[in-house]
Amino acid sequence: MAGSLEFIKSANTTSNVSSLSVTDCFSDKYDVYKVILEVNELSAESALDTRLIDSGGSVISASEYDTATLSGERTTFYEYKNVNSNKWQYTGFFEGSVGGFFVAYIYNPNNSSSYTFITMQNATHWINSSTPELIMRKYIGVHKVAEQITGINIFTGSATITNAKINVYGVK
């Protein structure tokens, strides 16, 4: 059925984990994938970063990721740019148990002769001096190695992910 969104796979956690992966979700069936991350609770204030998973099932942590981001908060808007990072950094920043989410598109992950690209927008939340505060991010990124990508991994630094879900859809 042309022009549809097809659910492929989901991963979720309801216990404290440091990372969450959806494996073997990218294939030759689609060129573009929609990824929705729902973060319901972290153990503490933390950034949440993203990496890709290669054809061998390993999370890619080499310095192969570029990022360009525009972020906005109550009174502050700022750019965040990073070249040759070992992750797509700051794909989210969360605190507490009131939620937050991102909607991302992943382009060409299965194509071993192409880089893999991401566009993403999120709405998340943290506590700024006891006041709930929105964080907006508009995000683009590229993984600069032409290789087959099979999955996606999100992870935190110091905190743990208490309750979250990743859904992966094919855009047909």
């Binding site: 659910f7 979720n12 494996t23 939620g99 991102f102 709405a123 929105l134």
Partner: protein, 189 residues
């Protein structure tokens, strides 16, 4: 490269295809103050998508906005937060943000001459979860009253733990709407 840790957590897949499920489409006919979606299936979907196309305001240079119903009551207080970025084709740009707005801003001010309109998509998250805030992300493509193309994108939140069971599309600043088509979808897993 590092191996996958123990945190693959619970992974599920389904032979049933997930899809974008249309909940309701409404088209503005005549002049109205607002259009409401009051059956949004908030307990079925974690994520909704609202598509607004060819939206017109009665007053030139005004914009479309959103409000939420909480358990049937419209929230009109200055409790919404948003952080958006506006970029005009003519080169100007602006940050627009508020921690005490009475609407969620989703597009820039728009012209209403022939052919002019605003067009916006909005993702909405956690509407039906009474223990969570209700978040949105949005992006619009529109044309200003000076006939310059403009995009606005950003995020918003109703920072209250409540059940959002309705969405109001309205003209910001109590101006009327005179045209547009609005479709609300649920993203099924």
């Amino acid at each position: 490269m590092s191996p996958l840790g123990a945190a693959r957590a619970v992974i599920t897949s389904s032979a049933d295809f997930g899809k974008l499920e249309l909940i309701q489409t409404q088209t503005i006919s005549g002049t109205v103050a607002q259009m409401d979606f009051t059956s949004i299936k908030e307990t079925t979907y974690d994520v909704h998508l609202l598509m607004l196309s060819n939206m017109l305001t009665e007053t030139d240079g005004k914009r479309v906005a959103l409000r939420f119903f909480e358990s049937g009551s419209i929230e009109t207080a200055s409790v919404y937060q948003f952080a958006n970025f506006v970029l005009e084709a003519g080169g100007s740009q602006a940050n627009v943000a508020s921690t005490g707005s009475n609407t969620l801003r989703i597009t820039d001010n728009t012209g209403n001459d022939t052919g002019e309109s605003s067009n916006t998509y909005v993702y909405l998250y956690n509407l039906g979860d009474s223990s969570k805030y209700s978040f949105i992300t949005c992006q619009s493509s529109a044309i200003t009253s000076s006939a310059v193309g403009v995009t606005e994108f950003g995020s918003g939140v109703l920072p209250q733990t409540s059940t959002v069971d309705g969405i109001r599309v309205l003209g910001d600043g109590a101006i009327n709407l005179t045209g547009g088509t609005m479709s609300l979808y649920g993203i099924k897993e």
